[in-house]
Symmetry: C3
Subunit: 155 residues, 3 copies
């Protein structure tokens, strides 16, 4: 069977690398029945946080969207490591979007769209999801964005 989802990612120029290691005493993924929970991912690339700072101060909305997109890529990398094949995903259920933001920042939704857009691009209607986007005083390792995910996987 061809790997449809991963081919779509490659069509977007996204080649999944090795999954980032968890930065604490936890695991990146838990499968519970048909649910795949993925731990909050920060915008790490090649072992380094690529997007640091706060929206509303030293990170603009477009850069924040790139950070959210990288979090999303890391979520997919973790999903692939857990499932072997992303085609085992039936649908995305929920994203939790966390934005390191100043008190006067208001564009959290636009920032997290960097993750949501990629999910919809890759999974189509199966990528449409619920979500909560909020502003955080700070995030692990100084990250500008963090995103967690809940997928429904095929039986």
């Amino acid at each position: 069977m061809s790997q449809i989802i991963e081919q779509r990612l490659e069509g977007l120029g996204i080649f999944l690398q090795e999954a980032p290691v968890a930065v604490g005493n936890y695991v990146p993924c838990v499968i519970d029945g048909n649910l795949l929970f993925i731990s909050g991912q920060v915008p790490i690339e090649n072992g380094t946080v690529r997007f640091k700072g706060h929206l509303g101060k030293d990170v603009d909305v477009e850069t924040g969207q790139q950070a959210a997109r990288l979090c999303c890529i890391n979520l997919l990398t973790q999903a692939k490591a857990a499932l072997g094949d992303l085609d085992r995903i039936e649908r995305l259920v929920r994203l939790g979007g966390f934005v390191a933001a100043t008190p006067d920042f208001t564009d959290h939704a636009k920032v997290i769209n960097g993750a949501s857009d990629l999910m919809v691009e890759v999974f189509g209607d199966q990528g449409l999801h619920c979500r909560a986007a909020i502003g955080c005083s700070s995030l692990p390792l100084g990250s500008a964005v963090e995103v967690e995910a809940l997928f429904h996987i095929k039986s």
Copy 2:
């Protein structure tokens, strides 16, 4: 069958209007088996955020409770749009309560009670729920409060 839950809402003077549109590339509700996930709702009324600002600064606890209550009404509006009939709800499982708050604010629980109280008023024991209430540096569109929900629906 009469619409018991919506009648109770109307008894409280709450008439559900059209569901607010999602402010990003996501959907308001996802049904996964018997679970209904609803995206974080902000205190929007007639297309405008009615309660802006931060608890501990320019929004007092009572106003914050009104904001949480409006978020709750928007959650129910979304649930009705997704289910057709609120009587299809078996119980509320969890609320996520997000309060735009200053560092020295401590009454997050009281604020989110504005949503919790309405849920219990409307659903009775079936409205008793788990919850996490936290303080956020800021919220989408400058909202003072955001609330997300997870319901269990009848088979």
Copy 3:
């Protein structure tokens, strides 16, 4: 049947007391099928919040870890009150870790390890979990840390 998990806790010098009362109009636990949702717990001991303040300002990482550990003990206390016996837990699925933190704080993961480490110590491989750790502008009652949990329980 012997109470394996509670014996392990006692081996660590942890004796579960009476479960803290919810500080709002909600319940500490909801059982939905095989899932046990537990409301966000703050570092309360004997009715008082023992760890207050912000990481990065007036609470150091080690003290934050103690706060997270106390939140974890309170989660287990709630689980015991809901289940009667902690051996009914099949596995921990997810922790939500909330750290009251300044904008320049970066060690959220280390702080929440105070909860994660105890879960793994007590449940072994069944305690490995997903998690999201974020920084909050403030938390209920001035708490330094709040942790919520989702467990899978045996049928």
